[in-house]
């Protein structure tokens, strides 16, 4: 868990206005901690990793804000689907062996070409 300033220090190429805009766009969603005299953003590990991801996409693929929004949306969908798959696999894993075998037999082979 780190604050805004520490996050800025961690990534030399990041500027405050940029990061604020990302939070505004909900590309990065820090937790808001209420303190005396106002609110403060708290970034968890997932948020820090997300900032690094956005920095990477922006720099390495020269993607602008609009395209970035699309890229992040698609990435989030992919990860969401992976989470669904994981849950489904976990559920299957908990079944008795004969059910797991039956499912395995029933799965059509993946197309290779």
């Amino acid at each position: 868990m780190i604050g805004f300033d520490e996050l800025m220090r961690r990534f030399a190429g990041l500027n405050a206005a940029e990061l604020s805009r990302w939070v505004e766009n909900r590309w990065v969603v820090p937790e808001t901690a209420t303190e005396e005299g106002g609110e403060r953003w708290v970034f968890h590990e997932v948020d820090v990793a997300r900032v690094e991801l956005i920095l990477d996409i922006r720099r390495e693929f020269a993607v602008d804000d609009e395209a970035l929004s699309l890229v992040l949306g698609l990435l989030d969908q992919v990860y969401s689907l992976r989470r669904q798959m994981r849950r489904l696999c976990d559920a299957l894993e908990q079944q008795p062996p004969e059910i797991r075998d039956a499912i395995r037999r029933a799965l059509p082979p993946a197309k290779t070409s």
Partner: protein
């Protein structure tokens, strides 16, 4: 202390030109060169730091790699960390597409599953007596993290937790929770499938620091500023506690560092079925306030003549002993 960036070491902005960097480097290198500062290890260390910073920033390729976070201040490769484990980890739900894609999609999947079963597999299922719908499973647990303010952590209360951008949960915080404690809210996790029970929400609690309260176990500590006259003459003053202000008597002739106890004004909670109550400890700090007041100065001139006091008496002795040892 956090490590300085090469930009900070050279005292230049992160968008400095090559020329600005070269100038800053020359100036600092001259200032801290070991030959000009013989026998000064601090200068030598600065010189090394300055050289290392210049090494990175003077080379456009290295500088770009540093800016991208590929190398660290010493020029060493920084381990690249991938976003995927985070996205698929406990906190990854935050960035899932709007509208709880989560549940809906799995439901869709199971619906497909059910249809397939009914269409192709009427054989083996009839013996089960429940037809093709007998699939049920408890929902998954969900993990959250919540930062609560100091007073709520001490006295208990309600705090709102964002489950997703448009879903909230009012969490009841028990009094006297500890940093890192995990609350389990039964049935507040992911919904069950096919009539199975919902999972639990596991909430890791973090306590934000307070500007003047400090906690040690069930006791609260507080430094309380008092005026010179309150300390010397005694007074009844209001003192904040976690449950609201109370009036406390300051005994006549108190001094900075005096510690007073407000019994039962600490954290009140149940621990292993028993009620436990902490105290609040108040450490006085005498603040003169009107230290430029001519009347006070006049009074002290006369008073000091008749009452010579040396509050540092013990210190001088201690220091000389320390040096001799």
């Amino acid at each position: 202390m956090a490590t300085q960036t090469p930009y900070e070491v050279l005292g230049v902005k992160s968008d400095a030109t090559a020329d600005e960097i070269r100038k800053a480097y020359r100036k600092l290198a001259k200032q801290f060169h070991p030959d000009l500062n013989p026998g000064k290890p601090a200068a030598e260390a600065r010189f090394k730091a300055v050289s290392a910073a210049h090494d990175i920033l003077s080379d456009p390729e290295k500088r770009a790699r540093y800016d991208r976070g590929e190398i660290d201040e010493s020029g060493a490769e920084r381990p690249r960390y991938s976003y995927r484990p985070h996205a698929e980890g406990a906190q990854g739900w935050k960035y899932q597409p709007e509208g709880e894609m989560d549940v809906g999609d799995l439901d869709d999947l199971f619906e497909m599953f059910g249809r397939g079963g009914r269409r192709g597999g009427a054989r083996g299922r009839t013996t089960g007596g429940r037809g093709g719908e007998g699939f049920s499973m408890p929902g998954p647990d969900r993990h959250y993290s919540l930062t609560i303010d100091f007073v709520t952590a001490a006295t208990g209360g309600k705090q709102r937790l964002a489950l997703s951008p448009d879903e909230w949960l009012d969490v009841t915080i028990p009094a006297g929770i500890e940093e890192g404690q995990i609350l389990r809210l039964k049935g507040k996790g992911g919904p069950g499938f096919g009539g199975g029970p919902a999972g639990d929400a596991l909430i890791e609690l973090h306590i934000a620091p307070h500007p003047f309260f400090r906690r040690e176990g069930d006791d609260i500590h507080l430094e309380l500023p008092v005026s010179l006259s309150e300390a010397v003459l005694g007074a009844r003053v209001p003192v904040p506690t976690v449950t609201g202000p109370v009036t406390m008597a300051i005994p006549k002739g108190s001094d900075t560092g005096a510690r007073l106890r407000l019994r039962g004004r600490g954290i009140h909670r149940k621990r292993q079925g028993k009620e436990v109550t902490g105290d609040q400890y108040v450490t006085l700090k005498v603040v003169i306030g009107a230290s430029d007041d001519p009347e006070l100065a006049k009074f002290l001139e006369d008073w000091a003549k008749q009452h010579p006091v040396d509050p540092r008496g013990g210190m001088a002795q201690g220091a000389s002993h320390g040096a001799a040892a």
